[in-house]
């Protein structure tokens, strides 16, 4: 139980708390559904063991599902996103230095991180809204919902990271 794990558990409780108490109630026009918890998968270090990645994703998904009485929905989407994360890294090619700590992605550099987080969030929202709807009818509505919710989710995540990280601007750029 080193410091990294304890910090991650702290993030877990805080993010699940914010998601369940605040963000689950936000539903403007039926289109804006921000989700903060994909951040928990985004922040995991690069060289985490693959089975741990999938199990953490599953457990997080089930926890969020318990609050919405929708057992399995968030879990299935989050496990899929966790499975595709290594593939995404092969495409996006992060820099190789120091990848075994929690927030290193965030400290890599803003552009790369924004691209990375947007891809994961967009993928997650797309799959989740399609699974929630159950079929592919009304795909315009689902696609609009995905894009607008993804924008809001990324904004929420960046705000959370601003408050919850201790990135000092002199150490990294």
């Amino acid at each position: 139980m080193n410091r990294q794990n304890i910090k991650y558990i702290g993030h877990f409780f805080l993010i699940v708390g914010i998601q369940v108490l605040v963000l689950n109630h936000i539903n403007i026009n039926g289109l804006v559904n921000p989700y903060l918890y994909p951040l928990l998968i985004v922040l995991l270090p690069l060289n985490i063991r693959p089975y741990a990645l999938l199990l953490i994703a599953f457990f997080t998904g089930i926890t969020i599902d318990a609050f919405e009485h929708s057992y399995g929905m968030h879990a299935s989407v989050l496990v899929l996103v966790a499975f595709l994360r290594p593939l995404l890294f092969k495409i996006l090619n992060p820099k190789e230095q120091e990848n075994d700590h929690l927030m290193d992605m965030y400290y890599h550099g803003t552009t790369w991180f924004v691209v990375y987080i947007s891809t994961i969030v967009f993928l997650h929202h797309l799959v989740y809204f399609v699974v929630e709807k159950g079929n592919f009818s009304a795909y315009h509505y689902t696609l609009t919902k995905t894009i607008i919710s993804a924008i809001f989710s990324v904004l929420c995540m960046m705000m959370y990271l601003l408050f919850a990280s201790n990135k000092s601007s002199t150490k990294y750029n």
Binding site: N27, H69, S70, A75, S76
Partner: protein, 282 residues
Amino acid sequence: MRYLFRFLSNNYFLFLFIFLELICIYLISNNNRYYNSGLVNASNEFTSRIYKTENNILKYFSLGRVNDSLINENIKLQQLLARNFIDHKMVLKSVIDTSNNELEQIYTLMQAKVINNTTDKAKNFIYLDKGSKDGIHKNMGVYNDKGIVGITIDVSHNYTVVMSVLNTDSRIGVKLTKDNYFGNLTWDTKSSRFATLSQIPNHVKVNKGDTIMTSGYSSFFPADIMVGTVDAWQEISGSNLLELKIKLSTDFGNLNYLYIVNHMQKNEIKALEQVVNEPAEH
């Protein structure tokens, strides 16, 4: 055999992923039959406790509005008391026979407060702050002064989960009040203020504004509880039925205190239904 194990352990990432997804698909597809199992109850108890704490903080913001609606409802109910009526027929009779007044209570009511509610998903659930220790069981109807709200599906010791009318699995027996034609009320996820009633034959003359009430044909709700009014209707092509769009009288965005109704003879009706539904043995 060894080759198989080596293949599995080399690709364990993929197989673990498939295994977890299968668990998730099992959970999703079994959602209907998953209610009231021990694990679900334990997690409901935990999540409801968090909602209750949140509600304890936030309920002060709606105190004024809730008080006003409760006072209005009290006035309506007070007016229904028997002492406020005079029976003209009794005055004209010379002999008044009151010896056969046997009133047996069939429905009992309990009250609970909503601690969490959603209206925007395909399957919406409502969490209440009373549970089995207060006498609530599964399959009880829930309504408020405006109209019906749902049916209890999961009860733990202190909390209850209600399947809202705004849920694709919800089916409630309702009727057209003026003609008594009945059908099942379902929800098509399009709007939180409208539901759908099918199974009305198309020769029935329906007008906009006709009231819809519970039929009393299921053991969840007593008859004549307000459900909504007819807003529009169309014929279902290829059958002789109408599909009615019902404007729900309940405001699902604004639920505070709800009544939970218990049908005292529910077990007897359920036993009878099971006998009828079993295949006949000759």
